[in-house]
Symmetry: C2
Amino acid sequence: MGTILEGLAASGLEAIIDQGEARRAEHARDWWARNELLDFQGTPSASPLAVVTPRSTEEVSTVLRCARETRTPVIPYGGGSGVCGAIQGRPDAIVLSTAGLDGLISLDDGDLLATFGAGTNGMAAERRVQEDGLTIGHWPQSIELSTVGGWIATRAAGQFSTGYGNIEEIVHDLVAVLPDGSVVRTRRTPRSAAGPDLRQLFLGSEGTLGVVTEVTFSLRPLPEASRGQAISFPSLEAGIEGTRRLMRAGFRPPVARLYDDMESARNFEGACPDGRHLLLLLHEGPEALVAPALPAVAKLCAEVDGTEHDAAVVDHWLERRNHVPGFRGFMEKGIILDTIEVAAPWSRVAELYHAVVSSLREVEGILIASGHSSHSYRSGTNLYFTFLARPADAADMARTYDECWRRAMEATLACGGGIAHHHGIGRVRRDFLADEIGTEGVETLRAIKRVLDPEGLLNPGALIPGE
Amino acid sequence: MGTILEGLAASGLEAIIDQGEARRAEHARDWWARNELLDFQGTPSASPLAVVTPRSTEEVSTVLRCARETRTPVIPYGGGSGVCGAIQGRPDAIVLSTAGLDGLISLDDGDLLATFGAGTNGMAAERRVQEDGLTIGHWPQSIELSTVGGWIATRAAGQFSTGYGNIEEIVHDLVAVLPDGSVVRTRRTPRSAAGPDLRQLFLGSEGTLGVVTEVTFSLRPLPEASRGQAISFPSLEAGIEGTRRLMRAGFRPPVARLYDDMESARNFEGACPDGRHLLLLLHEGPEALVAPALPAVAKLCAEVDGTEHDAAVVDHWLERRNHVPGFRGFMEKGIILDTIEVAAPWSRVAELYHAVVSSLREVEGILIASGHSSHSYRSGTNLYFTFLARPADAADMARTYDECWRRAMEATLACGGGIAHHHGIGRVRRDFLADEIGTEGVETLRAIKRVLDPEGLLNPGALIPGE
């Protein structure tokens, strides 16, 4: 038994192997702030032994078969834009990049179906269907960086999810390669009751159960009407109640974002009076339904002291929504920062918000602890926290980072919240997974992992604790 | 190692065992027409050795542990209203009835969450939340007979699914017991990216992977407005096109049912001119959105020769929608009958309809082969076929039945359709499962089955071929 690279060469796949140092280093990690910090501090993540870039489902299958034969760990890699540390290199592993599975495979306007290679960049995919007047309707903040396969692997949510659903409601069918090299193709049917939904094995699997190679989306036409609305509330509690009421009544604006007073002032200066909590809505759909939605929602929100403001702030948000400052500039100033998204039923959201923010404020050197809700449901919403901290000694940045995360997770769990709304588990939340899905849930996941990947070769160390 | 009944008695659970002959016979099968036919012809399904009715999740866990220790097959049983043969007794098995897991556990109006024991009757659950002005919004035709746990196990769809979603979009969280007796509780959070969604293991599992014991639904308030609309089309193709257009535009009437000309005339005499194809819609939601939806939809449908009719026919359907004539009366006349639901992308729906109906018409003794669409999506719809046949020799009824099913499945597959929209696989579709999800899909399901249930004790013979 030779090495995996010898095996791939013997299979005629030498061309898909890249052992260049720069390329290996580029694929050594994702955007997890903690690994960026270690990198900044001079201990970068280990580079993989090679980056392998198969060009077809069949080649992915060959790579996984070779990996199994040679017992080589495989780290599937899409856009590398994850923020939880699901990608972390090791010198005995290959990175399997999906960059060779790129582009549109088919597009049917009548059926509103588009199939892309899993490595297709998210914005490229969206732009392609927009050429035909259609939209995928999935807008993660990472859309310029992430891939459509990564959306599946991370169980992503987009900024338009309140109306258009999360990725699990947008994906129609998919092709994936299992650790043994076999290829699962789910049927192109709008809905099925043919046993458990096999797409779900891959949604949220973070590369541990297989490699998604093709993704088909159920599209929408670009909306006939699209109209912003801005409403502010005197307290976070009133804003949560307004959002809850509009969801309960059956309105489904694709965008519904409620910012606390700090973020309202920081991000949207002058859009509402200081101290108020701003709700941004974007209504989309047929003109017949959008036009009457705005006054009806305004009326519901007025019942809890919601006041309308100039909707230009929604355009402002739309233009700037994917602008994220890099971590590096902060680190150079001794500041560590991150975002943490969780979720809870309506009745616990305010309590959870205050518990997390209060706990973060106890961290030495904390500069900012704030939050907003960005994905709402009939029964609850998410909260998306931002923290910045500058410990007295810059050498403590990693310790401070870990403390912020631990405090946010513990406060969330104490309030009955879910610890991961849409960024995933990776490594940053891995040790909290048993608190989320129970020991029995972790053991179930581990059992499925072991039967599909007995040697534990696919993305070891991500998602499942103790693997 | 004694018998399971001795084991249960030793665990203090003697009270939950019923070995009475009548009760065992009642639990020997579900409503699958083929088993009813065999029963009618004098060879009823075998009775189980006992019906065991645990009263708590803990007791379910004890039963499954005893079953594993004594290698006893266990057939989980909800309302027994399945129509695919997932329940079929055997003399060495116990039936685990969920009837002891009955009633409301909690109801939160603010969070729109209601938790029920899995054995709660569907209509009882719906009535309970309606007392508080809420609705589950899941209306399978079996609602008077089926249980909320059965809805999960079969991956059910309700008559209001076009607006309110299928069961997987209504279930919020659940509790299930795995074959080893361990208890999985999914977190009460509106959405999660904490690994693959464990609820999906049970949605569609048909009792083969575990026993659901509690189900929490995300409810809706009873709608402010509810308005019927009836539109007829000159051809099935025009009706499909009208339905496609209204879905594409973004309208989501909870009910959207398009009947072929035969069913339009048979079920709704006088509602539209003979030969036309009737679309029944029910719009629900806030008055602000329902009122403008009707004229907008009428306008869209008029573009493909859709003509509006008196909407009283929708009330007529609402009143009679769960009335299903028993099979037995037909069998006494030598007639075998059943319904078959499949699904396809819009572009293949008409072709699929004609292929199935034409193929069924070739069956000797066929009396009726007709269909309608009852659950629509952005990218396609289902088709729900009805067949009645009277073979020359009544002894051929089972053979004729099998032939009708085989023809419908083969024609569906030839048109790229999905073989099971919402009734499930059971035994009637089991041998077609590999055509639906591929050999690799079946092997994946089998691998998960074997790791969770290595002895193959949970509902052997249902769903997974060759188990």
